[in-house]
């Protein structure tokens, strides 16, 4: 074995130029994979970030019966509601960036002349600002938290439908929690534009105490707590931890974005499968290069291999020496590739690649897309790529190695030496 190792290593440098070319082929294949996978993953995670930061957050707490009907009465903790301390307790956990409560409702909004049904979302502005981009979507007027109570912010399409403008007085009428016909007047403080037209056509934003007043809900009754974590990929584990044991009060259940945004989860899972295929193809091309190199090497050394065979070296050792030679090729290639990746990726990950020089502002189907591509290289993907390349190299070397081991020493020795 030691002999095969030494042979393999020495043979590698018999034709240094050719070996270096093969090594750089493997290295550039790895670098290529790192950049490509990093870019695609970056785009995927940007989508995930856009998807979760607009409204939904990373983890949501609800009453177990609340979804999907969003029944007014299924507030967190049931009839009694929740202790205000729950929010602070959640926020105190190191994984949590911020947690914010929400109350939802449905009401008929009317300016007098025009009316329309609207989905009401109410927030606590100081917390909400650190969880979602919702408040940043206020395009005209002041934001929630900057006004006196009684303000309402209308989605752009909704405002147009009921012909409301800044300062309009809006009557809201709804079935309140006590059975009465809840009704309040609100003042339009701003227009909301999320970029998602179904939302902009139907949503009105309020502050929690105002909506609780309209719905006849006491202050401790809210429908949802939305949590933004430090790491979006920790959401599943975090929600699982909250649900396990008795960390949450009765009538409260946590869900991660994987559960309430399954399409995002599916997209990322499909991407992972696509990466596998991509790695497979790139490794195949690299392997063809190695195959060529090793076939040449074996062909050149026919006499020599015949000699060691004649001297009694077992075929297994011959195979081993050739496999080890290509393993060295692959490892050196992967090592060089990792070094290059280490040079190239960090700036792409921290600063991203600004495409705006070529593309200008990009928006697809009314959704703003960041023209700066943020790369993200997941260690898992780099490991898959490296392992894939090494395995492919070994498989590629198998054919030349077997061929060498089957050489008839008598014939091999009569073959003229190739240089």
């Amino acid at each position: 074995m030691i002999l095969s190792l030494r042979l393999g290593w020495r043979n590698l440098w018999r034709n240094p130029r050719r070996s270096l070319i093969s090594i750089s082929a493997v290295a550039s294949a790895l670098l290529f994979l790192a950049i490509l996978l990093g870019m695609t993953q970056g785009i995927g995670e940007q989508m995930l970030d856009n998807g979760t930061s607009l409204l939904s957050g990373h983890v949501q707490l609800h009453h177990p019966d609340y979804l999907p009907d969003r029944n007014l009465f299924d507030t967190l903790g049931g009839r009694t509601g929740i202790e205000p301390g729950l929010l602070d307790a959640l926020q105190a956990r190191p994984e949590v960036r911020q947690a914010t409560p929400r109350v939802y409702g449905f009401a008929l909004l009317s300016t007098g002349e025009h009316s329309a049904g609207a989905q009401l979302i109410s927030v606590q502005p100081d917390r909400e600002a650190e969880v979602s981009r919702l408040l940043q979507c206020v395009q005209i007027g002041r934001r929630p938290g900057e006004t006196s109570p009684g303000g309402i912010w209308l989605g752009k399409g909704l405002a147009r439908e009921i012909q409301a403008t800044l300062g309009s007085e809006i009557a809201a009428v709804t079935q309140a929690a006590d059975g009465s016909l809840g009704n309040e007047l609100f003042r339009v403080e701003g227009i909301l534009r999320t970029g998602l037209s179904p939302l902009d056509n139907s949503v009105a934003l309020l502050e929690i105490p105002d909506l609780q007043l309209l719905l006849a809900l006491p202050p401790q009754r809210v429908h949802e707590i939305v949590i933004r974590l430090q790491d979006v990929f920790a959401a599943g584990a975090f929600a699982g931890q909250l649900n396990a044991g008795s960390r949450l009060p009765e009538g409260v259940r946590a869900q991660s974005w994987e559960e309430f945004s399954p399409q995002l989860r599916d997209y990322l899972q499909i991407m992972d499968s696509a990466y596998g295929i991509l790695i497979g193809f790139v490794a195949l091309f690299a392997a063809l290069g190695i195959l060529n190199t090793m076939l040449m090497a074996v062909f050149e050394r026919t006499r020599e291999i015949g000699t060691v065979g004649a001297l009694g070296m077992p075929p297994a050792s011959i195979i081993a020496s050739i496999l080890i030679e290509s393993l060295f090729l692959a490892l050196l290639g992967v090592g060089l590739g990792l070094a290059l990746t280490g040079l190239v990726m960090p700036p792409l990950e921290t600063h991203g690649l600004d495409l705006s020089r070529w593309t200008g502002e990009i928006s697809v189907v009314d959704t703003y897309i960041d023209p700066v591509l943020r790369f993200r290289l997941v260690p898992r993907h780099l490991i898959w790529s490296a392992v894939g390349l090494v395995l492919a190299t070994l498989v590629a070397a198998l054919l030349p190695a077997l061929r060498a081991s089957r050489l008839d020493p008598a014939k091999a020795l009569t073959t003229p030496q190739q240089v």
Binding site: F73, L108, S110, G112, S115, A116, G117, A171, V173, Q175, A177, D178, G179, S180, L181, N183, E184, L185
Partner: protein, 254 residues
């Protein structure tokens, strides 16, 4: 189609007037004719009533005092007089339209078609129940499906089946009317899948406003038999003159 409580009010009031011997059909009932006569009798009729409405649900229990004016099948005004918090809330129905006046915010809001299926003031009746009261004959084929003794009384049971193009929500309605006093006993509403959805029963026949009528009605949703909406008529006057302006937007605000 949902038969509304106003319809019931007016229906049993009118049936009560049918109970005069001269109005009794001599031979067996001609169902459509009975209902049709009811409908025609209602036109031009007017009424004024004080009603106590109790709503019991899993979520709340409500007691409302109502004052109701009606004229024909088309016009009605319902004002909440108790409890204090809701006093003054008024619903105006003219034809197919409903407006609510909300005194707290001093606004009149027309109920849009998207909210017609919503509960009226937290009861088991819907806004739709208010407007479709005059449409039974137009929307349903009416046949006698039972004629004989049931629960110790002789009754007729009419089966109301909607015409194919009728804009109604019920698959059918079974309506039981007593043969002796021509008063309604019970109405059962079935969904389009044939399942019973809700049952309206009539109780406590008393002389009110010179007529014998059931003074208590109780609506029970089948899926939640613990819940109910009950209306008790305390004071009822018929054929009284009601000023035309009562059924106008301006009177909503009173």
């Amino acid at each position: 189609m949902r038969t509304p409580f106003l319809f019931e009010t007016v229906l049993f009031v009118s049936l009560a007037s049918l109970a005069q011997p001269s109005a009794l059909p001599q031979t067996g009932p001609e169902p459509k004719e009975i209902i049709d006569r009811v409908d025609r009798l209602l036109r031009g009729d007017s009424s004024h009533a004080r009603v106590e409405m109790t709503v019991a649900t899993r979520r709340w229990e409500r007691n409302l005092a109502l004052e109701i004016w009606s004229e024909g099948t088309d016009k009605a005004l319902i004002r909440i007089t108790q409890p204090k918090k809701e006093a003054g809330m008024t619903t105006l129905k003219v034809g197919e339209d409903i407006w609510n006046y909300l005194p707290k915010i001093d606004r009149i809001i027309r109920v849009p078609s998207s909210m017609m299926a919503s509960a009226w003031m937290g009861s088991h009746f819907t806004n739709d129940d208010l407007v479709k009261e005059s449409r039974l004959i137009r929307d349903y084929r009416i046949e006698t499906s039972f004629d004989g003794g049931r629960d110790g009384r002789r009754i007729w049971e009419f089966t109301l089946t909607p015409f194919p193009d009728a804009p109604v929500v019920w698959g059918s309605i079974l309506y039981e009317v007593a043969q002796d006093d021509l008063l309604p006993i019970r109405a059962r509403y079935f969904g389009e899948d044939g399942r019973l959805r809700r049952t309206l029963t009539f109780h406590d026949v008393q002389q009110v406003g010179g007529r014998a009528i059931p003074t208590r009605m109780r609506l029970v949703p089948t899926e939640d038999p613990e819940e109910f909406t009950q209306m008790i008529y305390h004071d009822l006057q018929f054929d009284i003159p009601i000023p035309e302006r009562t059924f106008s937007l301006s009177s909503l605000r009173r």
